[in-house]
């Protein structure tokens, strides 16, 4: 069947307009945030729908850094996010390897139990976790925030899927050569699922970085705050809402995951494009 070239062009035009609209919708809040951080409070309320600042100023950024220990907040968030990310990756990799390559009894059942936990909403486990952390005397500590998040069913699910693409005979060949499971995992399996691991790591990191309610429940003192908690310091406690400063801090908070995404972009895209492992 021949397609009319002008019709085809129309179709392409339509898709481009649609995609462009989506880009604008996705980016608008980010741009709004960034430009708002460059406005004075007065201008913010005066300018109406005009998102571009008339006279950009870094006053808000200065204010944020002088009034609050921002680096401390970033550090706190970073500590929690790194602990959570690495712990989740390690537990996911170990679990997936055992589920795929070892003779574990009832491993299908175990896997399904793990997956079920993905469907339990956070609000359901929030209270029990809070009580447990309280009993562990870990309130108002970064470890208390990280502790209930050391394993993740989504990670097990995704990394297990990736490992299942690897022919079992690769590990069997190694086992016959007297290579133990740990070495086989580190030298053979992990290199072959590396991009899935990196992608999962980024997802874990960003989720942890953006977390708000749980750290809010556990952390009380100002110097233990994460950056997400700090965002609202400018909204109430400073006498009136300092939207400009708040936006400046939000911009800073966005920069870290954005930077992380940029340096690992190639890995993420290759993971989503990867259809299967071929020799």
């Amino acid at each position: 069947m021949q397609t009319n070239p002008s019709k085809k062009k129309n179709k392409e035009f339509f898709w481009h307009v649609l995609l462009l609209a989506l880009v604008v919708i996705t980016f608008y809040p980010l741009l709004f945030m960034f430009f708002a951080s460059l406005k004075t409070n007065n201008e913010l309320f005066r300018s109406g729908l005009n998102i571009f600042p008339t006279s950009p100023t870094f006053q808000n950024f200065l204010l944020v850094f002088t009034k609050q220990p921002v680096l401390q907040f970033i550090g706190n968030s970073l500590v929690i996010a790194l602990i959570v990310t690495f712990a989740k990756l390690i537990t996911s990799i170990l679990t997936s390897y055992a589920l795929v390559f070892m003779n574990v009894k009832y491993k299908e059942a175990i896997f399904y139990i793990f997956t079920i936990t993905m469907f339990v909403p956070f609000s359901v486990i929030m209270i029990p976790n809070y009580l447990t952390i309280n009993k562990f005397l870990l309130m108002d500590s970064l470890l208390g925030v990280a502790l209930p998040q050391l394993a993740d069913a989504m990670g097990i699910f995704r990394i297990r899927q990736a490992m299942r693409q690897i022919p079992k005979s690769l590990v069997e060949a190694a086992r016959i050569d007297k290579v133990n499971h740990f070495t086989a995992m580190v030298r053979i399996v992990i290199p072959l699922v590396r991009s899935s691991i990196v992608a999962m790591g980024i997802i874990f990191f960003i989720n942890s970085w953006n977390e708000f309610i749980w750290p809010m429940l556990i952390l009380k003192s100002r110097e233990k705050s994460t950056i997400t908690i700090a965002l609202q310091y400018f909204l109430n406690s400073e006498g009136g809402s300092a939207w400009g400063s708040s936006m400046a801090l939000a911009t800073i908070a966005t920069l870290v995951p954005l930077f992380l995404y940029l340096i690992s972009q190639r890995q993420i895209i290759s993971t989503f494009l990867q259809s299967g492992l071929k020799e």
Partner: protein, 355 residues
Amino acid sequence: MNEIIFKNVYKNYGHVEVIKDLNLTIPSGLRLVLLGPSGCGKTTILRMIAGLEEITSGDLFMGGTRVNDLEPGDRNVSMVFQNYALYPHMTIEDNILFGLQVAKVPKSEQQEQLYWALEILELTPYVKRYPKELSGGQRQRVALCRSLVKKSPYLLLDEPLSNLDAQLRTSARAELVKIHEVYNPTFVYVTHDQVEAMTIGHKIVVLDKSIIQQFDVPDNIYNKPNNVFVAKFIGSPSMNIIEAPIEGESIIIDGIRVKVPTNWREKVGERSKIKFGVRPEHVILDTTHGDLKLKSDFVENHGNRKCISFRFGSQQLMATTEPEFNFSEDLYLKIPWQRIHFFDNESNINIGYPN
């Protein structure tokens, strides 16, 4: 020395019996082929030797020790997998040496082993390449190299040639035999290809439905099959098996009485019906006279021979002839009494041969 002995070995997956009461002794240094259709349990037997499958009950001895509970790495076997199991992220060198590296064998010794093995399989120029840069045949040779450098007393091969094209297979068969002769390990080879089995094996185990049908040298597997299954599984085109009643001194084929020689008649004994087997290549055809007069059904020309099919009643008979064989529709068939087989009609077991 390095013999492998199965004693009353069973293997179940849940309620499915994959191996039933296996008793088999594989002598040290022998080239043994496990041959059978898919699902007959041959790969399971190989994997039990490697330690990759647990044994449900019974005992497995290797080199005089019971190895049921030994880890694969402690059995000192090497194995070539059907998909070669090369590590895609490692060079050929690292693929071959991985086991030795982990075992912390001295570097100089590793290199010595590596080049010795590469030399034998003519892979030296590819040492720094990755598996994906090699052809199927070369990958298969890398897999062989990997098991060669270990020099383990047991070499296990799981259909290693099934992913190669026909031409490559012929040369690879010769290579396998050559490798075995380098250091004479106990060699266990799984295949469903009868040509591989006949050409590689000192001895062949024919398996069907989890049971050993025959364990013998290739000559006997071909010339004295234990039962109808073995008779039909080996040989191409497969053996003609014709159900035929016995009346007095004669066998009745397609309503025609053919007199049975007395030595054969004695073997048949009291049986009133028999399965009569003859290989297509042993059928004697003539255009003028013979025991049976038959009409040909169709002819296949294979170039080096002609396969002629005859049909009578519900039964079919194949005969192969020289390509030059010229014939009209009517053909006479002569029974080659020195080359035929009689099987019991009920049990399908070979009734033996007259002296």
